[in-house]
């Protein structure tokens, strides 16, 4: 399998993200800080082969989110997204 085919969809991070967020982030719309694309987080390319989770923009492949678990702590980097628009209903 080629390196380009090693990714899943943002959907697959729903369980990990549910540890932190009370609202489902995967169905939320986010904007890529690099190219400005507005997409559902579920449409991002998700790489899970690493020690944590890396989500990349499905339009430009820029990193949107990084999340790493170390023992009982979670490191979360979301600077690749300008905003996340959540459904709080």
């Amino acid at each position: 399998m080629s390196a380009q085919m090693n990714y899943l969809d943002g959907n697959a991070a729903a369980g990990e993200l549910s540890k932190i967020f009370a609202i489902d982030v995967t169905s939320a719309e986010g904007q890529c800080a690099h190219c400005g694309a507005k997409k559902r987080f579920a449409e991002a390319r998700l790489y899970m082969q690493c020690p944590g989770v890396v989500a990349r923009c499905c339009a430009c492949e820029h990193v949107l989110l990084r999340m790493v678990n170390v023992r009982q702590r979670v490191f979360l980097d979301m600077r690749g997204m300008t905003y996340v628009n959540l459904d709080a209903a």
């Binding site: 399998m1 085919m5 090693n6 990714y7 899943l8 969809d9 943002g10 959907n11 697959a12 729903a14 369980g15 549910s18 489902d24 995967t26 169905s27 559902r40 987080f41 579920a42 449409e43 899970m48 082969q49 459904d87």
Partner: protein
């Protein structure tokens, strides 16, 4: 938040795949297409979690079915397909994911494309359609290695005959049934164009399977004129992802 589900039924779907029915007392309900994470913990505290799509229609009885394909070197799936017994308790987290879902309010034509065990969340949509009395027209294009690898074969046939939805098209990649009109092979642009709803009907498309399969199937749908915003995908991979 991890919940405890009790195994109440086990059913073999194929030689390597099995459906596990769990009863989950505090289950909040789910939507067709959602998944759960299942966590196994060894005596020494080592634990491993994997995602599995829910196969059952939404229900209020706290019943959750997953169908698991056993992977030869898997950490979790061999236990679930070979060792788990009725009465066992499993830890699960979910329901998860609110994007790759079909809601009973949707009335537009629905195009489902499954690659192998990617049929599981699509089956939840088919079952949800039937259970809710929806008349949304469904089509299913199901790519599978060989006839023996088809999940839910009898149920799909009956639903297709009795409810006329989904309209079923099988695409066999390695071995076909006897006298099958198409030689074995991967799905191609012409098969998708022939079996899927015309894009003029603006169907919502759900594609689930291994990453390369989803990549090509979504590409064919797009080439047929379906907008990116109408194609929802769920990929699974060899580790960590959906099995």
């Amino acid at each position: 938040m991890w919940r405890i589900g009790t195994v109440v039924d086990l059913r073999d779907e194929t030689a390597t795949a099995r459906t596990i029915t769990l009863q989950v007392p505090d289950w909040p309900g789910h939507l067709a297409g959602q998944h759960v994470d299942v966590r196994l913990t060894a005596a020494d505290g080592y634990s491993a979690a994997r995602s599995y799509s829910i196969a059952s229609a939404p229900n209020t009885e706290g019943r959750v079915e997953i169908t698991v394909e056993g992977l030869p070197n898997g950490e979790v799936s061999p236990y679930l397909t070979q060792q788990v017994a009725s009465g066992d308790r499993l830890e699960l987290r979910g329901p998860l994911g609110g994007w790759f879902v079909w809601r009973t309010e949707q009335t537009e034509p629905i195009q489902l494309i499954a690659g192998g065990s990617g049929i599981v969340p699509l089956m939840a949509m088919i079952r949800s359609r039937a259970a809710s009395g929806s008349s949304a027209p469904f089509r299913l294009l199901y790519s599978v290695r060989e006839p023996g690898a088809v999940f839910y074969r009898d149920e799909l046939r009956k639903r297709s005959e009795n409810e006329h939805s989904p309209t079923l098209t099988y695409a066999y990649t390695r071995i076909t049934p006897k006298d099958w009109p198409r030689p074995p092979g991967r799905i191609g642009a012409s098969l998708v164009a022939e079996a899927a709803w015309p894009s003029q009907l603006v169907p919502t498309c759900y594609v689930c399977g291994p990453t390369p399969f989803v990549e090509s199937a979504a590409g064919f749908l797009s080439a047929c004129g379906n907008g990116q915003d109408k194609i929802r995908t769920e990929r699974f991979g060899p580790t960590g992802g959906r099995k």
